[in-house]
Assembly symmetry: C2
Homo-oligomer: 233 residues x 2
DNA sequence: TCCCGTATAATTGTATGCAATTATACGGGA
DNA sequence: TCCCGTATAATTGCATACAATTATACGGGA
């Protein structure tokens, strides 16, 4: 009756419902399904070779994540994300990432600290080489390390949620060279504040980091495509 | 294809899955089920007179709300909430309620403003009479008005979640006379800042309001019962 | 031609049956 | 007595059948 976390992760991934859930999540976030598109239980099931039951259960989960909207007796529709939603999330994340950085200062483990340092080292290397794929990956990981280091399951969960939620926007964001350099510098600042044990500084830097990321998106017009997008019907 | 919100609410409430979901949610939050208790699909189904299908779907939703934990092929267990979880949530809420108050200052409608004023008037009345039930109800409603007034679906959703999450703790919190008087005064302060259009002030007051609420809980030992509670296995 | 009511088809909601997995009880061996 | 393997029971995972609801097509009347 001890820790089932690992087992759950594994089993969940290989249960049919788990697979459906992850696949749909991925496809929605990657934009394979258009906003407002209707997802039919049978079509999805056939596509994945499963019956309606696991599909329905996956739908219920996706609804709570806000990725789809289920209208009773009618269907499941892919939810859009508006420019305002993105703005709201960044503002909320700004505050919460700040809190996370502060808490991480108090709780980060030696291993996590090392992974963070390594992450920044690699990020700077790949940035200089222009390896977009790796940079994105490392950027995501930097934030995840911090989420895990803050020693709060609740905050970690919330931030991972929001992080995922704006993923599809972020993908394109880092591709500009100057922003990735600036972003790396900001990461380094946060890391050094955490290492130095200066929670207040880490907080305000993480705070600012999010605002900067958001403003960069605005400047580059990354949000324009979402401006006229409707929230899923 | 227009607004199905209302219809959904209604239908959802009267669909079997919806009923199971709401009932289990209520029972878990009210403490009818003990932490770590196993919920069996058939027992729940029999109790409510439905089959396993709607119960299973409700389980999936409850899991994402963090109220239960589903271990694949084993069962669903009621999740506990530790004193640290409560602390974390209050700290996070403090920041987000502040943001909410600031945004509400910019977006609140005439009707919402009026309801807020009325709410405070009634709260002060019931506080003077010692009507605990009504005070709790009005306190909850005050926050909800603010959530709705901030004009952000995302933030509203997040705050309503956290609000619900700590509900079982909050129930007992307001029952002390002096805290409820202080709380009302703080609500009034926030309301007046919003009315005056001073977003910064509203933010810092809402911020402080949460911290005060949390510290009051600590002072009165409301969290002691959660101290040794384990997170659901 | 357009509107609208009805019949039909498509889709979701729920119940149930079977397979797979996990828990429990029992009995043999040390 | 205790340990442990096996058989049995209980429980979840998934598929399927049927009911309820909603969408669509068609035809008649103005």
């Amino acid at each position: 009756m001890e820790n089932y976390d690992l087992k759950k992760e594994v089993t969940d991934k290989y249960s049919l419902r788990g697979r459906v859930f992850h696949k749909l999540r991925e496809d929605i976030l990657s934009g394979r399904y258009k906003v407002g598109e209707e997802l039919r239980e049978v079509s999805i099931g056939e596509e994945l070779g499963v019956s309606r039951t696991p599909v329905r259960e996956a739908f219920r989960q996706l609804e709570l994540e806000g990725l789809i909207r289920i209208v009773p007796n009618k269907g499941a529709y892919v939810m859009g994300i508006t420019a305002k939603d993105i703005r709201d999330i960044y503002m909320m994340r700004s505050l919460l990432e700040g809190l996370c950085a502060k808490w991480a200062t108090e709780s980060i483990s030696k291993e996590q600290m090392e992974e963070m340092e390594e992450n920044i080292f690699l990020s700077e290397f790949h940035a200089s080489k222009g390896h977009v794929e790796q940079m994105t990956e490392l950027d995501n990981r930097f934030h995840e390390i911090m989420y895990e280091a803050c020693n709060s399951k609740i905050l970690e969960h919330a931030l991972k949620d929001y992080h995922q939620y704006v993923m599809r926007v972020r993908k394109k964001t880092l591709s500009t060279q100057d922003r990735s350099v600036a972003s790396n510098a900001e990461h380094r600042g946060i890391m050094e504040a955490i290492r130095a044990g200066d929670g207040e500084l880490a907080q305000s830097l993480a705070n600012r980091h999010m605002i900067n990321a958001y403003e960069n998106m605005l400047r580059n017009g990354f949000l324009e495509q979402y401006e006229k997008e409707e929230r899923g019907k």
